[in-house]
Symmetry: C2
Subunit: 113 residues, 2 copies
């Protein structure tokens, strides 16, 4: 879903193309309080594989949502943070997060999970 998908039929379609998938919303959420290192993100997003994390971060970077900063040290330190565009996207996701919070029990019940 993070893959290319072009001409969008509406704004929602475009936004979903950028933030869709299993991990991207969670990654954005993790970054909403400031920069995070690769390893920090991996530990926070329990269950994500390194491959997935990198892949999603690269796509978000390509879409101008996150900024990647490499500190040339050993061991290496790479920090990811939201760009301004990313921060605005995160803000636009807040109501959806609230909705989910509010209806989580209902959804869980309906799906039997």
């Amino acid at each position: 879903m993070g893959g290319k998908r072009g001409p969008f039929s509406c704004g929602l379609d475009a936004a979903v193309a950028v933030v869709g998938g299993k991990w991207k919303p969670l990654i954005l959420w993790e970054l909403h309080e400031g920069a995070r290192r690769f390893g920090e993100l991996r530990r926070s997003l329990s269950g994500i594989s390194e491959k997935m994390l990198i892949q999603q971060l690269r796509e978000l970077e390509a879409d101008g949502i996150v900024h990647r900063e490499v500190h040339r040290e050993v061991p290496p330190r790479v920090e990811y943070s939201l760009t301004e565009t990313g921060a605005s996207l995160n803000k636009a996701l807040l109501p959806l997060g609230d909705w989910g919070e509010e209806h989580m029990d209902h959804i869980r019940a309906v799906r039997g999970v």
Copy 2:
């Protein structure tokens, strides 16, 4: 993505489980002005297959997002509309749609589509 996936790590995760995928956001959008027939939806969502449309509608129905009403006529008439929960979800999606609208050109440019 519409498939079962639980326990959610946060509200956003739960919301994405309900509204994720290629078509669901667009279906919700189509319903935001009122009830629509199956055929109307198929024509509006250009490119969707009948199988996908039904599948997504069934999942949304199971999640309590849309209501399905069958009118016993010939030829048959089935109308889909948002439940109250669905309407609130749609509302929560508005900022995301606005964000997409605003950044669509940027995204298209970055992806070369």
